[in-house]
Subunit: 289 residues, 2 copies
């Protein structure tokens, strides 16, 4: 069994991007980071994104409207960033307060600045295999992890557990593309799937993104499979100071001995999402420049 | 074994649409049918669409530019229809002459008038399960055939053979939706899939859209499966006056005895595409009105 080291791979990508940005003509890429309110997880995520930007040489523009901002005010703010030629990418950190329609906000961002890849146009471009679009950071990160770990997808059976819009569906659409690095056979399973273990056991590559702590057990995994664990779940753990520990969607202790390769949680998919956001921002700078 | 009668189901839908259109306030729906040149198949398809429109009470606006039209001229024509408040739906019949970029033309049509469902925005909305979009007519027709034949998808394993943008991928995205009529487990197979028969044999519902005459043989189908045959292939047949016969992607003589239900070719999926185009046009009238 080999661990897929997401921290190492993300650091490699960030170093590559730094070199690329240094060689870009004109001004550096600029990423607008919009964080509504002071949600502690959001504060921490945006800080990470800001730090990665600084490392690479991406200018970040930090915009922290109060939690009381109205939807129309947020729209106006986004419209201003859309129209600003000095801004290449726009990220609105989720979750947003309940009085704001998150989907409407994500659609308000101009598709060509949507470095989070949540815009309808970008999802459509993914289905169309049109590389001018932006792919959502988590599924893009999964594909990078697989490629950089030497895992071939062509002709292999990729089973995606979970059909979310930001992980399961785009991961499936990526893996099935007519690209030399893709060309996988893909199955999408979910909470309504009958006889789930029999299906997941067919996976040469299993992507677990169902959001249930330690849901994937040894009986659900074929020996020699590659397992990508997208889950980040808190489970109570009195032995920890915080009272909980982080765990993935995979029961690591029993599944990992079976695997050819597996991602740990934390340190697997997680670090890749920031790296992919940075990659999308550099791409936006190139395409919009 | 029961035949799924696409002609009958399409006629039912057209009769329902006629009743709906009669009850619509204001002017009737209007569909612009753009046919470039005189390709015989295109002439025949557009005639069918015109006839169905007339039956339902949809006004059709026929625009037949010559095969020498430039891409810019075709864009200008589409721009005019996009801006015309009297036009609800726009269909540009494919194939287009080789000097015209088909994808660019389909994207030029305003998404809210794209009754063919080929626009990037509409594909994105399908992935997002946003029902304000238009679903491409063939996959939409497949789902209607299944629903109206009493085939339940929830928890069933749908195997889609073929990953095209106009059939395979949207059919998979439809079947996996979180809708009471959907909720299927979905596998997408294709030309690069290893051990294809073992996968297709798992299908409770097999959708064959690979474009190869009689490719699906009895050893590839589970007894009791429902088979939807999307293929329309010409095979040489000296016994026919035309010198050929039409056949699907399924070897009907050997596969059909195994099936719970199966669509014939012709008379299965084919008639549904025109019915779904009509349904999309009525929907466009409602949404744009």
């Amino acid at each position: 069994m080999e661990l897929i080291d997401g921290n190492k791979i993300a650091a490699d990508i960030i170093a590559e991007l730094k070199t690329q940005v240094a060689a870009l003509p004109g001004r550096p890429p600029c990423l607008a980071l919009v964080r509504v309110g002071e949600d502690p997880a959001s504060v921490s995520y945006v800080k990470k994104k800001e730090a990665a930007s600084a490392t690479i040489g991406i200018t970040s523009r930090l915009i922290y409207p109060p939690v009381t901002i109205t939807q129309d005010e947020l729209f106006a703010l986004i419209d201003g960033l859309n129209a600003d030629p000095g801004v290449d990418g726009i990220l609105v950190q989720s979750p947003l307060p309940k009085h704001i329609n998150e989907v409407a906000v994500f659609r308000r961002i101009a598709a060509h600045k949507d470095v989070d890849g949540f815009h309808t146009m970008n999802l459509g471009k993914l289905a169309q295999e049109d590389d001018t679009g932006f792919v959502a950071c988590t599924p893009a990160g999964i594909m990078e992890l697989l490629q950089r770990s030497g895992v071939t997808l062509a002709g292999q059976h990729v089973v995606v557990l979970g059909r979310s819009l930001i992980v399961g569906k785009p991961a499936a659409l990526l893996a099935v593309q007519r690209k030399t690095w893709a060309n996988a056979t893909v199955t999408i399973c979910h909470s309504q799937t009958a006889n789930l273990p029999a299906l997941t056991r067919q996976a040469d590559i299993l992507i677990a993104a169902i959001g249930k702590a330690e849901f994937v057990t040894a009986d659900m995994v074929k020996p020699g499979a590659v397992v990508i664990d997208v889950g980040v779940n808190r489970v109570a753990d009195p032995s920890k100071k915080s009272g909980y520990r982080l765990t993935g969607d995979v029961h690591f202790p029993t599944v990992s001995p079976l695997c050819r390769k597996i991602t740990p949680v934390p340190g697997g998919v997680g670090p890749m999402t920031v790296a992919m956001l940075m990659q999308n921002t550099v791409k936006a700078r190139r395409q919009n420049g």
